[in-house]
Symmetry: C2
Subunit: 211 residues, 2 copies
């Protein structure tokens, strides 16, 4: 996308798990100030801005400053991970529901496992920003009744050329999450991933290449 705008002024405000990055309020102010200078401001994000993308804060900041906003949807990490694996999130006869949840909470630091109720009630689950809390994620799901043998896949750098994954069952989650690189990780759970867990024979070459 950046290659399409060779003359744009680029201001990186990227976030990385566990690292210091631009504060959201600073980003909001920067968006508004840049728009007031005139010209078109693009706030470029990875994934889909409307799914765990903080779009709301930025849209509201612009709306309060009477700045018109257009949202361009993107490929959320769960879709990118499904394409990487060659595994549908809603396989007919296996899953008619897929939930995207996050176990992380904002700076007030309060932990709340209501997300696990949503995860338990849905047949396919994509957990965003949960790899660093694999132990807590596993305990919350098991306490709801998810079996330890439930299929789990971790996809790192979903949507990027360097995407790769590890598969196992819920019992393996803390171990699988233990030695990952720096890129963002999405945790996937559900019977739709049973083939990823047990075989690489009936899946597309993308998977075989990374297995």
């Amino acid at each position: 996308v950046l290659a399409l705008a060779p003359n744009a002024r680029k201001i990186p405000v990227g976030k990385r798990s566990g690292q210091v990055s631009a504060d959201q309020a600073f980003i909001n102010r920067l968006l508004v100030a840049s728009a007031r200078e005139g010209g078109v401001v693009v706030r470029l994000k990875g994934g889909d801005p409307m799914i765990f993308g903080r779009a709301h804060e930025e849209i509201l900041a612009c709306a309060n400053a009477s700045i018109d906003v257009e949202v361009v949807p993107g490929i959320t990490a769960a879709s990118a991970a499904a394409a990487h694996l060659g595994a549908s999130l809603t396989m007919r006869g296996v899953a008619r529901s897929v939930v995207f949840v996050t176990p992380t909470v904002a700076k007030n630091g309060e932990h709340d496992d209501a997300w696990a109720d949503a995860a338990f009630a849905s047949q396919t689950v994509a957990i965003y920003m949960g790899a660093r809390e694999a132990q807590r994620v596993m305990h919350a799901l098991v306490s709801r009744g998810t079996p330890l043998t439930h299929p789990v896949v971790l996809v790192q750098d979903a949507g990027r050329p360097e995407a790769h994954h590890k598969a196992g069952c819920l019992n393996d989650l803390p171990e699988l999450a233990g030695n990952l690189g720096a890129g963002p990780v999405i945790l996937l759970l559900g019977d739709v991933f049973a083939d990823v867990m047990t075989s690489t024979n009936q899946v597309p070459h993308e998977l075989a290449r990374h297995a």
Copy 2:
């Protein structure tokens, strides 16, 4: 996308709600037969193929015929609808979970309202292929405990230039769904849509234009 392939042979196999369209088994055979003729076969779909897109059947048919498959992810209707509305599906402090479900079932015709458990447990809900069964959807959600005042938005033709929406509360759902056009409809529920229901002042121009 079609404009990028002026020399491709195009075979329409599209589906439309409630209309006769190409049978899935026929599509699978056509994919395999076309690939065996040589060349590259593209199965172009709207939305994301891995979310209520029947990708699994087609991937499996190709895998069983030893045909390599690469899946390109797409913008699922819920993401397109969120962009259209300017409403995040996971607003911080309001929703940490969003579920995509469908109340429809395959040809055996059996109705099963387990999807409603997943919908009730999640803070934001996107219901695919549910507008024709608005009454049943409403009853299933109310029976789980969703209040009749819960915000509801119906977005028709999400992701297309002609996208438009109607907003109300769960109690209005059958009426809102009653007089829709022919295009696909996604039902959205959740407190993240409260602003769509009650105001058009603080939302982007996309919304104001269609309101």
